[in-house]
Every structure is written in structure tokens, then in C-alpha cells.
Amino acid sequence: MSTINVEQISKSFGAQKAVDNVSFDVEPGEIFGLLGPNGAGKTTSIRIILDIFKPDTGKVSILGGQMTEEKKNKIGYLPEERGLYQDISLDRCLIYLATLKGMDEHEAQKRISEYLEKFDLAASKKKKVKELSKGMQQKAQLITTLVHKPEIVIIDEPFSALDPVNTQMVKDILQEERARGTSIVMCTHQMHQVEALADRIALISQGKTVLYGTLANVRQQFAKEALIVRTSSALPAELPGVSEIEKTNSHNILHLVEGQKPQDILRELLTRNIVVEQFEIALPTLDEIFIEVVKNKGVSE
């Protein structure tokens, strides 16, 4: 059963259609990348999922039904516009937010202490939040997202303001959470992080879902008829079935004639006694797909 089921939701603010017929599912134990350029409708979609906004049409099902007070306690949310109470001590702030998620104060205290140790914040727990660095506040916000052991984690730009060490730590934590069976929806512009972590993605542009599926499927979908080939000797200037040979510093990109099978090219190279060191189908990066889709969408509109 999907933990989140979004069915054709739409939402307008005045004349502006922020979300237009968006659908997707999120499964237990997966990291789902919700991608899109700025202003695409990601945040509005998330707010609809979280029942902060009501959709104009369509419906959302969370953990098998409508959102309830009890279900809210099973969700951890780290919004893009994040904040904490600035004028109170870190531990008081974290305990209050944890109790709002239905945790008993004693239990919250215990678990927050563990997290503060883990996130290297234990020494700062009595400091006022405003005295903490941006990175420390970011880690504190992650604690509020995870402390109540949610079944669903929705996290917007989890890596902003983090140094490489902390980025790796957050990645490890997200993977641990996934292994625990948590459904994680991750919004980010850092495509390499999505490539490294996400199982499936949905790309939203101008309020509409323009891509949806597993990472491998999406990349396959955008695979151009091209090959990455690295050889120990120079390639001949022309090869049958190859329309263009593009040379880069480390390899060649062979653009194929339409309908040409890659196996025939490999056979041709071997017949010519060329030593092949690398031979793979050229799949586009998520960055390239993102730019292509968003640009095309912009042009077609």
C-alpha cells in the first residue's frame, strides 16, 4: 500500500494555477525525489499533502486515508522556509516541537539528547537558538523532523547550508530511515544527490507533472541514440551507422543513425581490431534531463 497517494490535485491562487492535475504515489521504504524549477508548484503540492492547503480538485490519501490529527504525528516535515524559536534555548525549543508531535515530554527529552549527541550539538543545548550557526540550526531542524520516528518524512532542500561532512551524515541518516521503512519525499535542486539517493522521481514544471518513474526508467527514456566509447587507438574518421563522432578529453561520443543497434557498432570496432576500453550507452544525467524538460516545456508553452 502506498503511504502517500496524490490523485490529480489542482490548486489556484487567484488567477494563478499553482498546481495543475498532479498525481504520484510514494511507497514505504523509498526515497522519492520531487523535483522542479523554482515556482513549479512543489511547495504547494507538499502543503496540500500535509493538509495545510485544501486542493481545489483531486484528493490526497495519507497512510491509507484522509489526514487526521493522529496521522500528523506520523509525519516529519522540514520546510524550505525553515525556522526555529530564536529566543529560547535549543533543548526547550526541540522538546516543545517534539511534544506537539504527540511525544511525551520525558521520552522527547531522552531522544533529543541522543540526537544532540549524534549531531554534535550536545554542548550547545542550553544556548539560545539565535546564537547557533546556520549549519547548527539546520541540524537542529533535522532533529525536529526525525525525533518522533515518523513514517513519512518530507524534506525540502535537506543539504543547503551543510558542509560535506554533514551532508554525508544527512545522506547516511536518510538511508537509515529508508532502511527502517520510512517513506521519504525529498525536494532538492542538487541533482547529483537525487541520483545518489532517490529510487523514483517526479518532475513538476509550471504546476504539471512532466516526468514520473524510477530513476533508471527516466534516464532510459531520455537516452539519446549515442554511445560512449574509449579506445586505446584512434577511431577511424567514419564508421557505418554513426552519423557523428564527438571527441571529448577522455572519450568519444558516437551519435548513431536512427535505428542503428549498438551491438553492430561494437562488432564493427572489434572486426577492425580496435582495442575497446569502455563501451556504454550514453545516458543523460538528471541535470541534463531537468534542463531539457524544463526548457522544452517553457518553449512549448
Binding site: F13, R47, N73, G83, L84, D87, T99, L100
Partner: protein, 413 residues
């Protein structure tokens, strides 16, 4: 534990543990206490055991010269200078000698009693300096002189003519009586008015401050995945209402203690006895008045992106709270005049105005009850409106508002 309770507890603790709040809570009574100590110190040293010391403190007597004044009688009415005025008045035959005496510093000023005094009552007061507000401080002596002259030297009759009435007020109302000539009776309604104004204003402003700070700290979105806007609003309004109540209790409690303390110093008598019902009405009007203004402030808070943007709208919203202060003299001096009655029944001005009237006079029960019902109904309407404004879309948007958009939202347009 209910989430409304969690919000309430957190808001209450956050507000009362703030350093600025604790300082105001303690400093105000402390300052009043110091003033009181100073005043009673002055009193003790002057050996004066009544409340005149307090009066003197707030409106000191004009310093008068110790020199006598002169007079020239052109009317021929003044046969003799009464015994009591002999040290204060010196007769001169003409203006030249009087002028010279002023220049020589033997008299401070002189009067010229005109020829036609009997018909016109004209007396010229000639003094070396120009002081239109502080002048005529010694007219008592000249008045007695003229009264004595007009009554053919019957000084007792002269005194009676000068001050014909000695009215003693006796209230027929069942409530404790306060001496109406006592200065504390004069100050009490002012104290009650300002206390009420300050407490309602500060506690409802606290709410506006709180909501806009939460917006600025970007807490709203996180909070809204845990609590509903209604839970948040209810928790905040009740918590900050308690903060206001705490402030009122501490302030009036220390006020009461100060009165107990000063009672021994001031020989207060019945001056400060208020009917016990004023306390009950005070609590009712505070709760209702707070509910009205807190809902308005919560509405403003829900709409504005930050506190700076709230300025103009807040001014318009709290304007009715200031109106009773503008008319405070009318409210106290004519507490049962049509203006006072209207102000104390109109729901936005009623909480403060009615308390002023209650402190100043005996208000008919139907008026106090009607005012409470009217404020109650207004509060009910405004709480509902504020709850409607306290929606996710308003709380998360950062658009600036003006007074017009606020009132449109208030009336659900």
C-alpha cells in the same frame, strides 16, 4: 495532552520568562513604591498627617512672596485694614509712593481701588513682573479687605460673604462612601482607567507581537503540520490573557499593599474604599475587553508579514481604546452624562470607560450589565472573524496589508 494546552503552556512560559516582561512587572510597582516613600518622607518631615502631601506632590502651591502688598483707595470705602490682613497689606496715599516702595523692595505689588469700585468693582493690580498664569496669588487679602469695607467692618459677615457655602456631600447610595474632597478620590478613577488601558493594550499587543515574531522566525509552517490554526489561536489568546491577568494581579496587588502601607502614613480613612463589586466587574470587563482587542490584534497578526507592516492598522484598531482617555475628564466629572453613558456602552470603548465610571460614581446595574452583554457579543463576533483570518494561506503569505484589507477580511469580504 491536548495540543491547545501545549501551545497555551508554551506561550505563557515564553511570555512570562522574558526579561523585558519581568522587568516591567517588577519595575512599575517598584517605582510607585519609591514615589510613595519619597512622598511619605516629605510628609513626615513636614509633620502633616493628611493626604495634602500627595496633593502638594502632584500640584505644588505657587511660591508666593513674603513681602506685603500695597493699596491705594480712590473709592474711599476702606475705613480700616482687618486684623488678619494687617501684615499683608499696606495703605499708600498715591501711586508714586507705592511705585517707589515696589522699587525699594518693601512691597511686592500694589492695588489701585478705582473711584467707581462700588459700581464697577474695578481694582488694578500693579506688579513689576508679567505672569498671567501665576499672578493674583495674594488676592485673598484684598478680597477680605473689600468684603470688610462693604460690610462696614463686620469681619464675620465679611468672611461669610466671601465664602457663603460650606457644602458637605452625603451619598445616599449603599456603596462605601469616599470623601469627595479627598485628593485620592480624585486620583482613583484616573489610576483605574490607566491601569485598564495599559493592561488591555499590552496583553493584546503581546499577541500581535507573538504572531508576527512566529511568522518572522518562519515557525508557522512547521507548527501547522502539528496543530491546527484554531488550536494555535485558542492557545495563544488564553495564554496571553493569563499573562495580562497576572500583570493586573501583581500590579493591583502591589498597589493594594502600598495602600495598606501608606494607610498608616496618610490617615486615609474611607478615601480608598471601593465597592467590592468593582473587582468582579473589573475581571469581567478585562476578560471581555481583552477578548475584543486580542482578536483584532490576532487578525492583524495573521495578515501582516511582519510587525513593521502592522503599524498603521494597529493604530486604527487601538484608537477606540484611546477614546476614553481623551474624554477622561468628562467621564470622571460627569460620569452619568449622556457622553459617559454612550462611551461606556459602545463595545469598543466600554471596557475602559465603564471601569472609569465605576471608579468615579455609582453606575446603574442595567448599564453595567448591558455593556457586558454588548462587549460579549462583539467579542464573540471578533473571535470568529479572527479564527477565519487565522488560515494557513494568510499565515504563510507575506503580502503587505492596509487598513482597508484588514477590515474587509474582518467582515469576511
Amino acid at each position: 495532552m491536548s495540543k491547545t494546552w501545549l501551545v497555551l503552556k508554551n506561550e505563557f512560559l515564553s511570555a512570562v520568562l522574558r526579561r523585558s516582561f519581568l522587568l516591567t512587572l517588577v519595575l512599575l510597582p517598584l517605582m510607585s513604591f519609591i514615589i510613595l516613600l519619597v512622598v511619605s518622607g516629605i510628609q513626615k518631615s513636614s509633620g502633616d498627617a493628611n493626604t495634602d502631601a500627595l496633593t502638594d506632590f502632584f500640584s505644588p502651591k505657587v511660591e508666593s512672596s513674603n513681602l506685603p502688598e500695597g493699596f491705594i483707595d480712590l473709592s474711599g470705602l476702606v475705613k480700616e485694614i482687618p486684623q488678619a490682613s494687617q501684615e499683608k497689606l499696606v495703605r499708600f496715599d498715591n501711586e508714586d509712593t507705592a511705585k517707589k516702595a515696589v522699587e525699594a523692595g518693601t512691597i511686592s505689588a500694589y492695588y489701585v481701588i478705582e473711584k467707581d469700585f462700588l459700581a464697577e468693582g474695578t481694582i488694578l493690580y500693579m506688579r513689576p513682573d508679567y505672569n498671567p498664569l501665576g499672578g493674583m496669588e495674594n488676592t485673598g487679602a484684598i478680597e477680605t479687605l473689600m468684603a470688610n469695607a462693604l460690610t462696614d467692618g463686620d469681619i464675620e459677615l465679611a468672611y461669610r460673604v466671601q465664602d457663603p457655602l460650606n457644602v458637605k456631600e452625603v451619598s445616599l447610595a449603599a456603596t462605601p462612601q469616599r470623601s469627595s474632597s479627598n485628593m485620592l478620590t480624585f486620583f482613583l478613577p484616573y489610576i483605574v482607567t490607566f491601569l485598564f488601558y495599559i493592561v488591555i493594550l499590552t496583553s493584546s499587543s503581546l499577541l500581535l507581537n507573538n504572531i508576527s515574531t512566529e511568522k518572522q522566525n518562519r515557525m508557522m509552517e512547521i507548527l501547522m503540520t502539528s496543530v491546527t490554526p484554531r488550536q494555535m489561536l485558542t492557545g495563544k489568546i488564553i495564554a496571553l490573557g493569563f499573562v495580562g491577568l497576572l500583570q493586573t494581579i501583581v500590579w493591583s496587588g502591589s498597589g493594594y499593599l502600598m495602600l495598606l502601607f501608606s494607610g498608616q502614613q496618610f490617615a486615609l480613612g474611607d478615601a480608598f474604599k471601593l465597592p467590592p463589586s468593582i473587582l468582579i466587574w473589573g475581571i469581567i470587563y478585562f476578560i471581555l475587553g481583552y477578548a475584543v482587542y486580542a482578536s483584532l490584534m490576532a487578525g492583524v497578526g495573521a495578515l501582516v508579514p511582519n510587525l513593521r507592516e502592522a503599524g498603521q492598522t494597529t493604530t486604527v484598531v487601538i484608537l477606540p481604546l484611546i477614546i476614553p482617555l481623551v474624554f477622561i475628564s468628562s467621564l470622571i466629572q460627569a460620569p452619568n452624562s449622556p457622553l459617559s453613558v454612550v462611551l461606556s456602552l459602545f463595545p469598543l470603548t466600554a471596557p475602559v470607560s465603564m471601569m472609569t465610571r465605576l471608579a468615579a460614581t455609582t453606575v446603574p446595574f442595567w448599564q453595567t450589565a448591558l455593556a457586558a452583554v454588548l462587549i460579549g457579543l462583539t467579542a464573540l463576533f471578533l473571535v470568529q472573524s479572527a479564527a477565519k483570518m487565522f488560515r494557513a494561506q494568510n499565515l504563510l503569505s507575506g503580502q503587505s496589508i492596509n487598513t482597508k484589507t484588514f477590515f474587509s477580511a474582518l467582515f469576511g469580504k
